[in-house]
Symmetry: C2
């Protein structure tokens, strides 16, 4: 079955917002076995929307639109389809009640315009909107299927998952299932990772293997087709264990795991506390750690020590170490990690010092030189990096590397 | 002139990447007066790309594509257009030399495949690629114009700005110019801001006024058309000064300014130093401040004081204050700001304490309760907020509010 996604909305056409709905839908529909072969965007204009929908219906079996289901005069998607298919618009009483209830429960006044959201082409299947006022709609016309979904991503995504995908699976008798699992890796580049598992990539069948670079992480996505979820998961588990033998040390988590969430889980499990002394990352690592709800259980705090005075007075780095080795040195990083661990009385300490640029380079110490130290019961470890790139990239890479070294220390040494 | 943007690439169709090229192009083309009325996406498939380009040529005057200009067999955009317009593909010697030079200067080996990047439909105008190996191309065919641009955004954006827009202005005799200026505001909601300037919005002509909500900031975009840049800027300046009388206190910067960059400029100008004590934001504010190159000139450092022990020992908050008023209180926020200022010997101190959620609420202190204090030569100021929303949203809003209070303190009180 060929699918076309039609995104409607003048703000998309003008480039005022980026279209994230189309890629989300394309990804999910591909995963369950539908071919999304065309995507189109058109504004809230009756003539041009008719033209685009009619082109879409000629070349695709299923046309899914987003947007234009709201209460305003600019929301015309359902009307355009009704006219194109020669169907009258009818009031759907249960939808009207739902919309009234939505307004009443929020003590908002409902306007007459909102009644338009309860009007649908004759014969339509209504899809409830659990997250907003505009219901979705499925219209079956001969061999073709038109589906209208609301534009706000959180409304669309919920309806896609809970109404559209079940409908499509049922209607087109999709027997089997497709399950994906992502192994999230950090620390090895895409080509080096590929090199290590290239025989599996070359001979892949079911499950398939895809490598995706995402914000300095490399994701390995395994996708299996099978007649049941359990069978698909077994296929994935078998391949996963083989891959883990090759690249297991770089895999930090699965699916939606973040490095900071994984670190938090390990610290919680082992009942360890943490403090950080950050120089070049300026609080970025601590900010990511505290993104995780409940991080106060293991994070005592941190010192951002941009100046040498603060490194000495608030973190406890000996002035002589800075004088001898420089503020950007492995020795200083280790003393930062040890110092903050002692001052904040935690099990673990992190020390990060480096030159994020664009200024700050000195002879022998270029922009991108970074030292990351982890101190703890198993003694200190220190790692040197020579990153290249703009300031934001160096800070981001340093933050991820620090979180990953912390993870490895907790998993490996403790 | 009607424009259609055609994005090519299987990774777009599969939803593996989000299309940022189309909105960027749409925005810029709209700004210079072209109507982008259609956008389409198609994969690297000869039949379907032919179909999509032929539909585009039927309904638009100018068709601009991105992607498919690379050296691989999947890169077919130019060939599809050549076939559609009945033109042979010819080798363009200067482009081949350029590509050879690109490889030589990077000490990379050029493969035979790269020769394909120097082949163009007969009669094409070649657009040099300053940032990559794939040249762009303009093909004029009767009343229609087809433009092919490379897919990587930094290559496409450079070529659009330096080759395509000058070409289009010249070809279609665009006389005047369009200039936009963005006034970035923080602290007032979109509807309140609109209310304050609604008479200007209602009677807008040239310049036009658009309000855009962006990550909790509201941007006011003024766009003027005129026969010269200078004239357009004068029109904008006149309206801007009127708007500033109404909403000036909320305008923190212009165009690409960020709150942290603006704060940095003010601190530098007034030769002031800063330290922060962050609790619920966990280093987020300091991280944003240190995003700015050169921030080490005014930022001494910060303490992330998640635990009360750290608030007392490392920031100097009196234990009695926490015992009496609680860690989340205006009193504690002020002592954090005063304490860190004293400890780090800076002109200014910031103290932030609150409950980011989802846990941590106590009777009388709900999730979202936040206190932000600024301490400095003009005495301490403290602000209370009751944010609602998820953890990340509360932290983000708190960070922006803290930066804005710091800005106001430095501008207003010092």
């Amino acid at each position: 079955m060929i699918v076309e996604i039609v995104s409607t909305g003048t703000e998309l056409l003008l480039g005022q917002i980026v279209n994230t709905n189309a890629p989300h839908m394309a990804k999910r529909l591909n995963e369950i076995g539908f071919d999304v072969l065309f995507q189109s965007t058109v504004g809230d204009n009756r003539t041009r929307m008719t033209q685009v929908l009619s082109t879409a219906l000629a070349r695709a079996d299923i046309v899914i639109t987003t947007g234009g289901l709201g209460p305003t005069q600019g929301d015309i998607t359902k009307e355009v389809t009704a006219e194109l298919l020669g169907r009258p618009m009818l009031l759907h009483a249960p939808s009207l009640e739902r919309i009234k209830g939505f307004f009443a429960s929020r003590r908002l006044t409902m306007t007459d315009n909102n009644i338009r959201q309860a009007m649908f082409p004759e014969g339509a299947i209504i899809l409830d909107n659990a997250r907003g006022t505009a219901p979705g709609v499925v219209i079956e016309a001969d061999e073709k299927t038109v589906i209208h979904l609301p534009g706000p991503p959180h409304e669309m995504e919920h309806m896609l998952e809970h109404a559209v995908i079940p409908y499509l699976r049922d209607r087109f008798g999709i027997q089997g299932t497709i399950v994906s699992k992502v192994l999230r890796t950090f620390g090895l580049g895409e080509s080096s990772l590929e090199e290590r598992i290239k025989d599996y990539i070359k001979t892949q069948g079911n499950p398939t293997i895809a490598l995706l670079a995402r914000n300095a992480e490399i994701h390995v996505r395994l996708t299996a087709k099978a007649s049941s979820d359990a069978e698909a998961r077994e296929l994935i588990a078998a391949l996963e264990s083989q891959l883990r033998e090759r690249i297991g040390e770089y895999i930090f988590g699965e699916d939606e795991d973040t490095l900071e969430a994984v670190v938090g889980r390990h610290l919680t499990e082992k009942n360890l506390t943490l403090a950080l002394a950050e120089s070049c990352t300026g609080g970025l690592v601590t900010s990511r750690i505290t993104d995780v709800p409940g991080s106060s259980a293991y994070l005592a705090g941190a010192v951002v020590c941009y100046s040498n005075d603060v490194k000495i007075a608030a973190v406890g780095v000996p002035a002589a170490i800075i004088a001898t080795h420089g503020a950007v040195s492995g020795e200083t990083a280790v003393m930062m990690a040890e110092g903050i661990r002692e001052r904040f009385r935690t099990d673990l300490g992190i020390g990060i010092t480096g030159i994020a640029g664009p200024g700050g380079a000195v002879p022998g110490k270029p922009v991108g030189l970074v030292f990351i130290a982890v101190a703890g019961p198993a003694g200190p470890s220190c790692f040197q990096y020579n990153f290249t790139g703009p300031r934001g990239f160096i800070r981001h890479r340093t933050a991820l590397a620090a979180l990953n070294h912390l993870r490895q220390y907790v998993v490996g040494a403790l």
